[in-house]
Amino acid sequence: MRDHVKIIRGMRDDKAFSSFGQDRAKEAIKEVEARFREELEREHGKGWRNHITEDRFRQFAKEVIEQDKEYKKRHPTSKGDSFHRHSINAFDKFLNPDKVRVVRVGRNTDQTRTDAIQVNAANVATNANKAEIEEEQTAKTEAETGADAEKAEIKENEAAETEAETGKEKEEAETDADKEAEKEAKEREKAEKAQEKADKAAQKAQTRRGRLWNFLTREKPQKEKQPKETAPRQPRATVTRSLDESSGFALFLMLLTMALAVVDYWFLHFGGLDYNIYLNAWKGGGLSLLFMTFVPIYTLAGILIIELVFVARKHNAAYFLLAIFGSLLAAKAIMVSLGMNIVPGIGLSISVVALVAAMLFSMWKLMDDDTRGHFLSWVFYGLIWSAILSLGGIMSIGSIAHLIIAFLVWLFVIGERDVTSANYWVGALLILDFFGFGIIKAMIPMATGSAIIANRFVFPIWFFFISIYSLEFKKSKLIKFIVFCVIIFYILALVDGVYGWTNINAQIQANPDEVAEAKSFFKNAFKNMMDFPDKVVAEYRKGLEQATGGYYQGRVEENQDPRNDLGVHLVNLQAADKEFYQNEEVIVWGDLKAKTLEDPISIFMSCEAGEAEGVIKPEKLAQINIADRHIIQQLEQIPFECRFAPDELQAGTTSVKIKAEFNFNTLGYLKTYFMDIERMRALRRENVDPLRQYGIDKVSDAIYTNGPVKLGMGTVDPPLGLSTNSDAYSYIGVTVQPQWFGRIKNITSVQIQVPVGLDISDPTATGDTTYCRKGFKMTDPNKEGYSIYDMEEGEIKKTKVPITTYKSWRCPIKITSTTTPDILGNIPVATHHFRAEVGYIYEIEKSTNVFVKGAEGEERRLSGCEITCDDDDGCVCPADCGVPAGTTIGKGYTCNNAPIGSNTLIGSADSFSILDKAMSEITVKVTLNEVCAGIPGAKEALEAQGKGNDAEAIIQACGIDENKIDKIEETEKEIVEQIENSLVVTAITMEGKALSADNRDTLNSKLQESITILIKTRDSFEKIYLQDNIPADVIYEDYRGRINTAQFKLNALIVDS
């Protein structure tokens, strides 16, 4: 908190200038301010305002008092003027606020002027002093005639001053007044009224007391707020009136909320929002899903950004956070809205993670307790609003009306308390209003009559809240009365109604069995509450099934024994070493565990690390030919290795993926129940659950066996009613979904088994029998009570593979009346199973990281032509790439795209640019060499090319003769190599390509240009070696010969063309 605010707060009760009249107080303030300002300016110059502190002011006050004492010592007879005395007394009062009596400077009486005012203000009503009554009457008159209350106070002060100065006369007047007060009760009443006015005036004067500091600190005068316990007792009438006035908004809101309930009932029929909307939107996907997902995220982001802007005033880290988080979010927003991929890899999850991380960090590190609470309240409030809006909260007039009321109530709570409370309260009420009633309704059985609790028209929550909240904060009699009436109304309505307690109680007394029923009500309520999540899930599943055209749930069979872990698993996967050098073999090992209880499993394994493919050992696990693959009959654990040849992996951390492909079957069954339809209807009519009646408490989902695939199944909700008079219809649905990390690479078979008597054949007029929309064939009409159907090959091929999400099939079932007795058997509830078996090829994947260290000074040997070189030392290419085997390419290139003249895979344009670049560099190097050798005119020629700096640098480098010779020889070597490797090789490589006529001409021209450069180079070498200080040696001869050879080759190419 800023210091000056503290000072102002500290000055609230300061009575320093209370003894001043209006005008004189102003004068005193001005004078003190001027003196204080002078002091500060003298000390601090222009920045004096920054040094206004309470301590400094105290010091200043002490100095003034000390000066006054010094003056008195020197002038003991002087009393000073009245203004001076008051100022000193005021300072003394400021420094000693608890001091009641202050010795007046130069006066004999103990009663100070200040005390006189206080006594006057506090006791005037009870004091019958005539003089004082007259003073109050004077004040009253002034107030009534429209005079400023402050004037009344000044008058009062002046009167008190006069009185205090004439103490003796006052005592006499008091005695007289006492006598008169006993006789004149009427006058006392008037005095009480005057007291009200005087108190009011005193209250205003009290507000002025902090004025000096307000003035000095340039703060706006703050509204005086007395703490409850220290607040002076106010005249009753005044309090009531003011509270009634401030209750206006509350009463207005009460009226408005009640009106909302009535309008809801008669016109709007607002029913809140159903969670199903959310689920349906989610299921539907598309724009609504996008909207639902992004609105809350951007709401949160908005709140966070606003909060961070405030926090950034104190913590610079907030700017950093804002920059990162803001740019990430903005990028995502643009990507979503424009469909642009600005930053690869930024998905929704990244945005959410960034948002949550930014929130947690800022809450933890940048916010204090108050700010954090405030921020969280906004998060809560914002999320609720966004949820409501994204669920269609503004799509109906009813919900808009409720949202407006919510906003008004929010303002109301802010007025009474603060924004944080308002956010929490109104947020909670919005939840209840828009979702709560629906949830309560779902939890309470409608039949009990208790559904009234979930009736929003009976319990208008906004009205309730405003009433109760107003009762807490407003002491209005009208509000109390309204709330009292509401309570009575509800007591009468609920307690004495049809379902009232008295009625229930009578029944309980009359029949003890009702007690059990009452108990069962609560039991049911509890059960409903516990079942609620399941209901939501069931609803979700149902909706999903409808929305997707079939998604059938299932539950994996609990694994009784960890050893019975069916399927293929990659376990104990780890790198053979903590780190590998790039030029050594990288090995990752692990164990393959496979178990099947049915068909044998054939395994194929592979491994890769980025673009590099590893080799699996033992080889039997990596046989591409299916016939050669390793077969696991029942249970096996095979250790394996994945090896990468030296230089195959890039330096750094690389993720090695091990993949295992295997065939597997998953079986599932769905238990279902059949019952005579008449019996079922009769039971349901009596509100009896037909299955529960026959001891079946739960209907389980489909159960499927352990393995990589989830096999869900679905049919109509059991029991299915059957009749001997009419046919019945049902269906069987099957869903497969990968559930391990990996994918279904292929479906090999789908088999369904239905109890004999349940027919999945297609209605056909041709006489051919097809099954399940021609997708299945019957393979066995009766195998132990089941008809077996296998999916047709053509249907399997239609399946889009690989399956990474899910795939469903559905077959309609007809149960003819003639088969009903066989299906029902001779017991009330017949239990049958639908069964399904799916065969598939599954590919599981598991990965581990390896760390590969680059070998210093050694070029990495690439194992493939498309592997990007990541070695600073360059990489050596293998055979059969664009560049010849053994060619070194630079970092960042592959052996197929390296801009090297010998690369047969690069285009003509790239080759020409390589030639141009080589010629240009050779020309520059030749000239630099001449500069180094001191050939006249070379420096100027280089400067003319705009390479004056290079010329200076080379002259600097070639300053000493020994260095010069080495430098010249080194550059010559570079030139010759560049001629051979760039010019000649590129030209020859281009010659091997089928060039167009234009390119042929261009090449010829480039060859001519190159030959010219070669001639110039050779001449330049000669000039250099003609220099005295540069001896022509064997190297020179060699270089000259090599240049001649190059020229010959280029010439030959021209001749060829």
């Binding site: 009359a510 029949n511 003890p512 069995d513 069979e557 609990e558 694994n559 009784q560 024994d561 019975n564 069916l566 099947t596 209880l597 049915e598 029942q634 249970l635 079957n665 998953t666 079986l667 069954y669 238990k671 019952m675 005579d676 339809i677 008449e678 019996r679 209807r681 009769a682 039971l683 009519r685 009596e686 509100n687 009896v688 009646q693 026959y694 001891g695 079946i696 408490d697 389980s700 159960i703 066996t705 352990n706 393995g707 009749s723 001997t724 132990e784 009570g785 007795p821 029902l824 058997g825 001779n826 017991i827 009330p828 509830v829 017949a830 239990t831 049958h832 199973h833």
Partner: protein, 343 residues
């Protein structure tokens, strides 16, 4: 007072001496306890038969205790045995019982007799039944599964009867004209008011009797006592029509009229046919009434067509109510059939 004493004695004599054609129904004062409670047939499995877990291809023992805790004897009751046939099958010839009151009717049904509570057997008769079932090869049916959760259920279906007797007040002086003439202080021997009952030793109970006197249309001096009788199923099972008991334990159709169907007979003063009340809608005959319970409760009106002359004054009389119905209930237990580990 004299009339009241005579009436009371007459009732006592009747109650003590009432045997003959209404066998087993002897509601004497000492039988009060017998005609209390809402239980009839109670069934429970043995603690570990069937067990919670059983291996495939083994014998599943099923033990059942039956108690008739009601006041009526069960004759030819049925037990329907529900098993998942894919996983278990009942072993013929395995049925045993302690009191030999049971028989296999077929492979899925058992018939039994069990007497209800009497003074000699205040707890009612009980029977202990055991039989076995064989679990099938799980590997054949579900080759990849390690277990299968199945269940065993027993549904009982039997006829039962509720008998209620309550002293009701017959007041022929509807308007109170003769009240002062008979008693100096104006009080009556009894007062017509609703009577609340709780249970009668059966799962279906008469819970309320409200009496009223209806003047005859043809002869206003003739007053016909009429009773509104509330009947409620206070047991945990379901009521079915008396003659549909066997069907209830099979898969046969049972219509909604047959669910909750109770036959009611009402007698005033004695169980003689001449004192029978008419409980159906048709006037003039002394038919039984039929109650169809809705949400486990229903009411019926029974009227004494002969009526009483208004000369009779005020007197008490026993009202006999006999409810005949079938009752069905199910108990079940989940059994996990486990595959035998072979490796």
């Amino acid at each position: 007072m004299k009339t009241k004493t005579i009436l009371t004695l007459a009732i006592l004599v009747f109650l003590i001496g009432c045997k003959g054609d209404k066998e087993g129904y002897s509601p004497t004062i000492t039988t009060k306890d017998i005609y209390e409670g809402k239980a009839a047939l109670e069934m429970e499995f043995f603690e570990n038969a069937p067990p919670e877990d059983i291996f495939e291809k083994s014998v599943l023992p099923i033990g059942l205790r039956l108690y008739n805790k009601g006041a009526f004897d069960i004759k030819r009751g049925f037990l329907s045995i529900g098993l998942e046939k894919d996983y278990m099958e009942l072993n013929d010839g395995s049925l045993k019982s302690i009191n030999d009151r049971v028989n296999f009717q077929d492979s899925e049904h058992i018939t039994f007799d069990l007497k209800g509570k009497t003074i000699e057997h205040p707890e009612g008769e009980q029977e202990v039944i055991t039989f076995t079932s064989s679990t099938k090869d799980l590997g054949k049916r579900d080759p990849q599964s390690q277990y299968h959760d199945s269940w065993v259920s027993i549904t009982s279906c039997y006829t039962y009867q509720t008998k209620a007797v309550e002293t009701v007040c017959i007041d022929t002086d509807v308007f109170g004209f003769k009240r002062k003439a008979e008693t100096p202080d104006g009080t009556r021997a009894c007062e017509v008011k609703p009577i609340t009952l709780s249970s009668q030793g059966a799962p279906v109970a008469v819970t309320k009797i409200e009496g009223e006197m209806v003047p005859s249309k043809d002869n206003p001096s003739l007053l016909k006592p009429r009773f509104i009788i509330t009947v409620r199923n206070i047991g945990s099972g379901e009521v079915i029509k008396e003659n549909k008991v066997e069907d209830a334990c099979s898969s046969k159709a049972i219509t909604h009229e047959e669910w909750g169907n109770i036959n009611i007979k009402a007698y005033l003063s004695t169980l003689e046919e001449e004192n029978k009340l008419d409980c159906d809608i048709e006037e003039g005959s002394k038919d039984d009434g039929t109650i169809i319970l809705k949400k486990k409760e229903d009411t019926i009106r029974c009227i004494y067509e002969e009526g009483f002359s208004d000369e009779k004054g005020v007197f008490s009389s026993p009202l006999y109510l006999i409810l005949d119905y079938g009752y069905t209930e199910t108990i079940s237990r989940e059994v996990r059939v486990k595959k035998v580990a072979t490796h």
